[in-house]
Symmetry: C2
Subunit: 429 residues, 2 copies
């Protein structure tokens, strides 16, 4: 990690900047894939599978047989782990249900909001070396609580045309309704426009590489909603003298092992402590299976010494990290100063991996500075809130004059008439 010792404020803008991904070059490729799927449906999916994934699955749809098989194949230990994670994630997201609250804004004017599940949602689970079944829980559980009628899951199969049993198991317990063996930009297009076998959905969720991300941006222009634009994962750790450097090192590494493009930042109010943490990183790095990846990520990472914890928090707010770890015994006192972050981990026993898997919070979070304007995925992401209003005759009479005055000032006479014709009725009756 590169160490920056008390950089001037004028350097902050550079230090918080993320590596820029050249979307233009992707654009044409993705446009071509998306449009082909839109026009040719399943046939295109199979062709792209051969082109990109080496082998095309016999059937795009996962069969009941495969679901049962997965259940048998999965180790009891992993099953238990998935089940306990499920319980915690369910508890946290279920508490996000919003009770209907009727507000009488004026006598006889009753207004409220009602949450209504998005009927059809699509979940994308990337393939690659490891099976990301935890993301199935993070997306499937809130969809299940919301009551989405159709929950479609797309994920690329392995070289043998199979999907990891843990993914299938997590899909089953979260009530996913249909699972398809397809990945990449073509899977996003399939869920956005529908094919002969894959139903069209209204909103698409899930992480992915830059092709997947670009495809999500593309279909968004066509009216399909998406969760959040995804970028490389990030952690920012703020550590002070009360921290345990071994723990800090472990947290930096657990982010670094994600990928060569993982963003890792350490903020601290004193240099010797930074040096201790970095020495410990070296030590722990040695025994990591994904050492090479972690090394790549660390080579681009920053350890920054600032004048005070307050300055560290200011910097963190300008960076707006996906994950923010406060490695301090006084973590909770710092909460009021946190303005921009996806998910925050307080104190020495709240490691990011706890939140990645089982604390109950969602791990689908805003990256690349989106924490300035976006929340992570929650139950809210799977519902829309419909507003309702019911006015009594008296209610309309009370606000009627206001409506008519404003409507006329906006030169909308018919808006005013809609009120006057109703009020007149009473005077006649």
């Amino acid at each position: 990690m590169k160490v920056y010792n008390n950089p001037g404020r004028n350097q902050w803008a550079d230090l918080v900047r993320r590596p820029v991904i050249d979307k233009e070059s992707l654009s044409k490729t993705v446009e071509n894939i998306v449009k082909t799927v839109q026009q040719e449906g399943d046939a295109a999916l199979l062709r792209f599978a051969i082109l990109f994934d080496v082998s095309a699955p016999e059937n795009i749809a996962v069969s009941d047989g495969e679901m049962l098989q997965a259940d048998a194949l999965l180790s009891p230990g992993l099953k238990d782990a998935i089940n306990s994670a499920y319980t915690n994630i369910y508890a946290f997201h279920n508490a996000q249900r919003e009770p209907e609250k009727i507000i009488e804004t004026a006598p006889g004017v009753r207004c409220w909001r009602k949450s209504s599940a998005i009927e059809k949602v699509g979940l994308y689970i990337p393939g690659g070396s490891a099976p990301l079944f935890s993301t199935v829980l993070m997306l499937g559980i809130p969809a299940q609580i919301a009551g989405c009628r159709e929950i479609v899951l797309c994920t690329p199969p392995d070289r043998n045309g199979k999907i990891h049993p843990a993914i299938l198991y997590a899909a089953r317990i979260t009530g996913v309704t249909k699972i398809f063996k397809t990945g990449g930009a073509q899977a996003i297009a399939a869920m956005a426009y529908g094919t002969e076998t894959i139903p069209k959905v209204y909103k698409i969720f899930g992480p992915g590489n830059q092709y997947v991300t670009k495809a999500k941006e593309w279909v968004q222009q066509d009216g399909v909603a998406i969760d959040i634009p995804a970028g490389p994962s990030e952690v920012l750790v703020i550590a002070d003298k009360t921290c345990n450097p071994d723990f800090v090192a472990a947290d930096l590494l657990s982010q670094a092992e994600h990928g060569a493009d993982s963003q890792v930042i350490l903020l601290c109010d004193n240099l010797p402590l930074v040096e201790r943490c970095l020495r410990e990183v070296e030590t722990q790095l040695e025994n990591l299976p994904r050492k090479t990846i972690a090394l790549k990520a660390l080579s681009l990472s920053k350890a920054i010494v600032l004048g005070s914890l307050d300055e560290c928090l200011e910097f963190s707010n300008e960076y707006a990290p996906e994950h923010l770890i406060l490695a301090s015994e006084n973590a909770s006192n710092l909460i009021p100063q946190i303005v921009n972050a996806g998910s925050v981990f307080l104190g020495k026993y709240s490691c990011e991996s706890a939140g990645d898997y089982a604390s109950g919070t969602n791990h689908t979070l805003p990256t690349n500075g989106y924490a300035m304007s976006c929340s992570g995925v929650s139950l809210d992401s799977f519902v829309k809130k419909i507003t309702f209003q019911e006015l009594s005759r008296e209610g309309l009479e009370i606000i009627g004059k206001t409506v008519q005055t404003m409507a006329r000032a906006e030169e909308l006479a018919a808006h005013a008439n809609a009120v006057s014709i109703r009020i007149k009725e009473k005077n006649n009756g």
Copy 2:
């Protein structure tokens, strides 16, 4: 209005389809405007003002003097109306504050969400014939309640380089921090990237023509959040024999007068009633100042007779209207059947114009079918919800095994280490 008497299900897909706007043709123009503003800042704004708005304002920023002037110019009657609307809208949106709720998902594992205002937001208010000060209230009030630090408002000035006093008054009482005289795609670009005088914001709100909408889509690709993609306004009225045809007609017309492209749909379970409503539309139309506009809109509008109220609601859900009016004495019994809609108006005294101005609900709503996946603007639109978690040593020990098992199955050893190193500490200590 064209009458469709019991169309077959196979025709529904056509009947719910919106007119397609050719975005491609816009794309280049908007791209050029946006990039020019990004590169040249204020200079570009002035040039485009001369090009599109005939005259360029002396100063882009509205002065304190102009604010005071507006206060003096505004009629007391309109001021009162704006103030009472403010009170109702404030009451409804203030009730949307979410209390922090700590969930202990497992002993010693505490998780919660904290709402944090988006620091910098931009509100766009279109110009044109009428001053849309009501939209200033609808966007400014939730921003004010959320506590956004910087609330920027852009709106095109009139031919004399002035902004309507009602817009300035509404901006003042909602705590808008800066107001600028610029409109169109260039205003969106200015708020997205910032200029010498206009600050960059993180999220942009507000309606506008197709250039504005396209510009919002464009800057969204660049990481600036937007409220909802906007399209022409829509109403769908479901009427049964218990309705008052005069009221139904008035509601259809108050939507039709918005613009030639307004979407107006009447659903009913019997033909004679439809014919009565349409005759009444003819009558009321005569005295409307915006008759020509309303006529254009009505010529493209649909009155559809279906077999039952249930079918009407099914059709409405497939259409997903921005505004849904239930012109029936049994309106509230139909609520459970409503799945997709922006805002719903129940019973004979709940006219859309009440919600457009003063009932308290927001009038910035999803159009063009977005009600299938999106909510209208609310307090939620101006905050992000940051998740927090705090684990005690015991808490980590309880979920630790789950985290480690899942991390190893996802081949993320460092994620597992972050737990084991913390649990080990205890055994040693």
